[in-house]
Point group: C2
Chain length 214, copies 2
């Protein structure tokens, strides 16, 4: 199976998938897609033909393009179940998926670059207003996630095994720091992060380790 990931070093959704691929020990090539240069390379004809949503990541599986990070992670779990990134029981899996969606649909879409860009371009939000917008949505979502991890977490976000919730957590906390979110309110989340950040699969997926890191 040939795997090519179209990725941007600081894209949190690309980052999730990089960790997932590393966790499954699947080799992949990276094709960098710059979200700002050239007006955003995700808007190119080449990229749109692979993902009409004009977003990252896209995973090419033997040339077949798959988009949406959660859909890609589900695909990897179904085709490469070991080592797992989901627990076994349906109820536990639902809890991990709930945490995943708190970030995937609850936080990231409202604070991402395209939203900030539109607020600036069409509604004259200053850079400070754009950052404030994103900061407050991140804090709101992390407040919910802190409660869930406090209830269900252990060494990691859900119990003592690494799961998708962790793949979403680490990039989201990185974004939180970029937007000056006060993380002292989220002790469970930062405790889990400190367990995760030295794992080799997470180290290799970090933005600073990417070929397009600036």
């Amino acid at each position: 199976m040939s795997l090519v990931l179209r990725s941007y070093w600081r894209s949190s959704c690309s980052w999730r998938v990089r960790i997932g691929l590393n966790w499954k020990q699947l080799p992949y090539d990276i094709v960098p897609v710059h979200l700002v240069a050239d007006g955003g390379q995700q808007h190119s004809d080449t990229h749109r033909a692979l993902n009409p949503s004009r977003e990252l990541p896209v995973l090419l599986v033997d040339g077949e393009p798959l988009a949406q990070s959660v859909a890609i992670l589900e695909y990897l779990e179904e085709t490469h179940p070991d080592p797992p990134l989901l627990p076994r029981s349906p109820l536990d899996r639902a809890r991990v998926r709930q945490m995943t969606e708190v970030v995937n649909s609850g936080i990231q879409p409202v604070q991402n670059l395209r939203v900030m860009q539109r607020l600036g371009r069409e509604y004259d939000f200053s850079r400070a207003d754009q950052v404030g917008w994103s900061r407050d949505w991140i804090a709101l979502g992390l407040t919910a996630l802190e409660q869930l991890v406090s209830n269900h977490g252990g060494r990691y976000s859900f119990g003592d095994s690494v799961s998708w919730a962790d793949l979403c957590l680490v990039p989201q906390l990185y974004n939180a720091r970029r937007f000056d979110v006060d993380l002292t309110a989220f002790p469970s989340l930062t405790a889990v992060e400190s367990q995760l950040e030295s794992l080799p699969e997470f180290v290799a997926a970090h933005p600073d380790q990417q070929p397009d890191a600036a």
Copy 2:
């Protein structure tokens, strides 16, 4: 198994789950949670204890609260696989999940009530500006979905079997009309919708059929 759905008649995420439960022929009780009355009943202590994200829907499975519509649909698929709402092959499943996420994380979170409310409350967006904000995000996301359904659809969004992509499509098109999106640009989507809207599982899940319909 006792199933209780905390739902709001016009919540598109609640609506997806209602269709899913109907499709699986699972009986459930509805507890209405009003998203506007009392400052939003999703902010009550009772509801927050069940879902710290303060959102709908929440499905109580023998009293255990599950939140996030996609996590709930995955749980229902794992515990009640027949009749299915996902195709069989991992690649096909990934395509349906991609379409699902185009709506779930790509459109709905950026155009929903809490975003519009914050734009009005904190940034003085007029009602017309709030509607314009949501309208344009819906149109952008539907443009991508139209391409995916044009590529992969048949009688329904993905091939000739009803899937989660359809459960997401119908409520999102309802929202599109509320926000005056021009749907003539989306002939594949409206053609699929016309096939879906007479199915009894979809009819029974429609907002107008809910106990809290206003």
